[in-house]
Symmetry: C2
Subunit: 342 residues, 2 copies
């Protein structure tokens, strides 16, 4: 899922997003709550109509953003008091409030309000925090106004401790959510620890419901975690990196501002058939970046999203044809070989 923080995936129109192959996007509850406000979005017909995006939308719970407001927030059993990063105004998020906001925004998939502890946190802190998060999940589920229209996912927490993760998953599974997210990873722990947790949860979470690993990641991360049973991801990486001139391609990452591309007439990715690669040379895109033109960011974003979507499409097909392990290995070889090469 591309990230469309404030009801727009940065630099791209909905038509360009569809051209890139996006099927579902993520919007941030915290940001939309502050501007333009969830009630305004509701009065304007909901997020799809507001931003003219007919395909599915997922909103996060705002938990991650609110927890990131170091010094501007205070967590209690009831909820989180915080100050807006924009104007310092005071706000209070409870599980019920967050559910009302997400009901107003109107995404197809919405998330339970959770505490996302920083890394590293002590085991004691994580255990305490988990109890709060599970209580909030229950309260949110009760407060959810339209479960028939919006699928509410529970979020598994517990840091890098398998027993806490198991406790979290089992309690949420008893509550019966239509899907389960794994939160609190990709926050600073090693890649091995992350994969150990997703592998561990692969044996616990129900097979027939979607599993969503939040905030991940690189193409390799996607491959490795799909191997661990993950179905859904979101990450700013393809678009944020693209805006800074780092492009994901079938031959690894490319720093397009490099002088080596100054006269290069080939497309960003010779294997790609996106609008950018069909129509523009590396030399042109490098020029646009070197003179800080906005078109550089949108052409690069469109390509990098298309690359991610193609990766996932090919991966789904490999699974359907029962050749995922071979596909996984071949893609890893290809991506890593070129990262060295460049």
């Amino acid at each position: 899922m591309p990230v469309g923080t404030r009801a727009t995936v940065k630099t791209l129109s909905p038509a360009q997003l569809a051209e890139a192959g996006s099927q579902i996007i993520l919007c941030n509850t915290y940001h939309l709550y502050l501007r333009p406000g969830a009630e305004l979005i509701r009065r304007l017909g909901g997020i799809h109509r507001f931003m003219n995006w007919e395909r599915p939308v997922l909103t996060d719970s705002g938990g991650f953003q609110v927890m990131s407001l170091q010094g501007l927030r205070k967590i209690t059993a009831e909820g989180v008091h915080f100050q807006s990063h924009i104007d310092g105004s005071y706000h209070f998020f409870t599980p019920e409030k967050v559910m009302a906001i997400q009901n107003d925004i109107g995404a197809d998939i919405i998330m339970s309000f959770d505490e996302c502890p920083p890394y590293p946190s002590s085991r004691e802190y994580l255990a305490e925090s988990l109890r709060t998060t599970l209580d909030w999940a229950s309260r949110g589920k009760i407060a959810h106004r339209c479960p028939e229209k919006q699928a509410l996912f529970g979020i598994v927490q517990g840091g890098i401790h398998e027993d806490l993760r198991e406790e979290s998953a089992r309690v949420l599974m008893e509550m019966e959510f239509p899907g389960y997210a794994i939160g609190g990873l990709a926050v600073g722990e090693s890649k091995e620890e992350l994969l150990r947790i997703t592998s561990f949860l692969d044996g616990i979470l129900p097979e027939k419901k979607p599993r969503y690993l939040m905030g991940v990641g690189t193409p390799q991360d996607l491959l490795d975690n799909v191997a661990n049973g993950i179905d859904m991801f979101d990450c700013v990486m393809p678009t944020r990196n693209a805006r800074k001139g780092t492009i994901f391609t079938s031959q690894g990452k490319m720093v397009i501002k490099s002088v080596r591309y100054i006269e290069d007439e080939s497309p960003l990715d010779p294997e790609c058939d996106c609008y950018t690669c069909r129509n523009f040379s590396r030399a042109y895109i490098r020029h646009l970046f070197s003179v800080d033109e906005i078109l550089a960011m949108s052409l690069a974003s469109l390509h990098s999203l298309h690359f991610y979507h193609e990766l996932m499409k090919n991966l789904r097909q490999a699974i359907a044809e029962d050749r995922f392990a071979e596909f996984h290995q071949r893609m890893l070889d290809k991506l890593s070989a070129q990262e060295d090469g460049q």
Copy 2:
């Protein structure tokens, strides 16, 4: 002609430009000469291929930009010494050099190198400058490598003095250019003075060759100067204003950031059928501007260009149907009434 300074009309892809209805765009010789360099563009197949724009392109001569480098340039009879605004490096533009650069860039229409005197300038300065500009026009015409492929226009100068304008036009007409531009206007003189000069030149310039008024203007300026026989215009106004949130519409100018539009579900311009107006509300575009999202600038630019192109299209049709005067008056009433109203 939308302005695509560095081989891109800011924030828009060529596909979006075509969607807006652009038939020809202007690129700036001075900027392209500095970055990425004219020879590089030539080696990459010329400006059309470089930026993936198949329709016509016009390049200016760089004269206006170079003259604007106050303190960084020195004018002689031979040419203009100047320092780059980017890195202070030293450069020398002569009529021959500017022609070679424009030949390398490869636009369909190219311009003579001219001195564009500031406003106000003394009559003596203007007369002296005019002699230099006419000499440069002659030298550029001789140096032009491929007149069969690129149409070189002469530029009429002479400030607000009719006798100087007439001298300029007559000397250029003797040289027989395929088209004539009017430069040195819209630099600070009153609107009445500008219209007096274009009206005066209407009686002198040949009817059957295109007349191009450089750097103009508002919708009203276009209407008034077409009435004076002008055929072509370029201006950053539709795109630059759009990027700052001032939108041209059939009901006058709109400052979309205004709080009055916070919950307005209508399109920017109810009479418009561009991509932006077909798909997005004022409320959404206002939101995008208020949170500084780039999509705001591209949606607004696309609309404002479409508005300009539609105005010119309707105006051409009115001329063809011999009802230009009526069209002119009706449009002026409409645009000015609403500017008061808002």
